[in-house]
């Protein structure tokens, strides 16, 4: 690992100031994606700004029916939270499905979405639920936040502060996990609120996306059978040693059907 300067500020303002001053600084959250890349010298940073001492970034609360989760909330805390489990059980299940217990003990919501790995689980939940990302300076709709492969709408010195989740009537997440890492080879998050259905797909393409053909079919008939005739074009999908493009397209349908079946 190349060396860097380490900082542990206690306020959001100080963290943003440190990032703005640094030559090439990054926030450090749970470190479960950042430290492996630094360790392997895939990246070099002048400064790491550890967010763990900023209490404003932690915690889970209900704000008039909207669930608000702080950026530094660990996956294990989301999975175990009574509030999340009763308000949006599918979100608790998504957090529980990430990696392994030790990754969940350190990895955070903010770190996962800022990293925006194409196979990460949270992006599907945020887009599927129509969540809003609150930063130190603005609010961003989930669909506008995840912009490309490992890319987000965040500025270099911008911090995710919290995520606001509206409550759906029903929601489910199904993923086909990579057997070694548990990352999603394909993951599909389905949410139904009134007559509106949202289907978000992770793992398949460069970035999470909404599946409008499936959404239309499910709005018409909320059954696994309604998804049967829908083919997903595989042209832009990821193809690698874990799964070919066509296999990923196939998995999109299988995972979507399982998610809808779980909600019958």
């Amino acid at each position: 690992m190349y060396d860097f300067d380490y900082h542990r500020p206690t306020t959001i303002a100080d963290a943003v100031a440190l990032l703005a001053q640094a030559e090439d600084g990054r926030p450090l959250a749970g470190g479960q994606s950042l430290i492996p890349t630094l360790k392997q010298r895939l990246a070099k940073r002048s400064d790491l700004v550890d967010l763990s001492a900023i209490t404003e970034l932690r915690g889970i609360r209900d704000d008039g029916g909207t669930l608000v989760i702080g950026a530094m909330t660990r996956h294990a805390e989301v999975a175990a939270s009574d509030l999340v489990r009763s308000a949006i059980p599918a979100l608790a299940a998504t957090a529980e499905s990430v990696g392994d217990a030790q990754v969940r003990n350190l990895g955070t919501l903010g770190g996962s979405i800022a990293n925006n790995d194409p196979s990460a689980d949270y992006p599907a939940a945020l887009v599927g639920l129509g969540a809003t990302i609150v930063t130190d300076r603005r609010s961003i709709a989930a669909e506008d936040f995840f912009t490309g492969l490992f890319e987000t709408a965040l500025a270099a010195d911008e911090l995710v502060v919290s995520v606001r989740f509206p409550r759906p009537d029903r929601a489910a997440y199904q993923k086909f996990p990579n057997p070694a890492s548990r990352y999603a080879v394909v993951g599909v998050f389905v949410a139904k609120t009134g007559n509106a259905v949202r289907v978000a797909v992770t793992g398949a393409g460069a970035v999470v996306f909404r599946h409008s053909a499936m959404e239309a079919a499910l709005t018409n008939s909320f059954t696994p059978a309604a998804l049967e005739p829908i083919e997903t074009p595989a042209d832009d999908f990821n193809g690698d040693i874990h799964a070919s493009q066509d296999y990923r397209a196939h998995l999109v349908k299988v995972m979507a059907k399982r998610a809808v079946a779980a909600l019958q």
């Binding site: 380490y6 470190g31 492996p36 790491l48 550890d50 294990a76 030790q102």
Partner: protein
């Protein structure tokens, strides 16, 4: 950049100078010579390096020593009593032959204790899922699962006895 950190390791306070980039596992193994914590991979996947930081199991190869400044760390060396009596989870691994070469064992035991502490009742499935982050190349896991179930029961028994 060098920094001075103070933390509690296996109950004893230690203060040392480290580089920002020093990993917790390097700090434990190379600075404190606590070599019971192992390094089995460079992809954060094998779990040989698991220790407890403030009571929760983490991969010490994926945490900086500076991040543990002010924390309480427990390693495999910190489990047995001063007179050498093994922790119930260690005893269960010995009793049920939950190891062969032993390379994965320190991480397995540390993960298993966290699992037992956070799950009042453990099933075989919960143990297998709970040890997702620990890889063993020898045993085929069967006896590890038996050991963890027995160790968890022994831990619960001891907790009851203490009440």
């Amino acid at each position: 950049m060098a920094r001075t950190i103070t933390l509690t390791v296996n109950g004893a306070k230690v203060t040392r100078e480290v580089e920002s980039r020093t990993l917790l596992v390097q700090f434990l193994r190379e600075h404190l010579e606590l070599t019971g914590t192992h390094i089995g991979c460079d992809t954060s996947q094998c779990g040989a390096c698991v220790v407890h930081v403030d009571g929760r199991s983490v991969k010490s190869c994926t945490m900086l020593a500076v991040q543990a400044d002010g924390a309480a760390v427990t390693t495999i060396e910190g489990l047995a009593a001063a007179d050498g009596t093994l922790h119930p989870m260690q005893a269960a691994f010995r009793e049920h032959h939950g190891l062969q070469c032993g390379f994965c064992t320190p991480g397995m035991v540390m993960s298993a204790i966290d699992l037992a502490q956070t799950h009042p009742t453990l099933t075989e499935t919960a143990v297998r899922e709970g040890l997702e982050g620990n890889i063993c190349r020898c045993t085929g896991y069967h006896n590890i699962v038996k050991a963890v179930l027995a160790g968890a029961e022994a831990m619960a028994g001891r907790a009851e006895a203490a009440e």
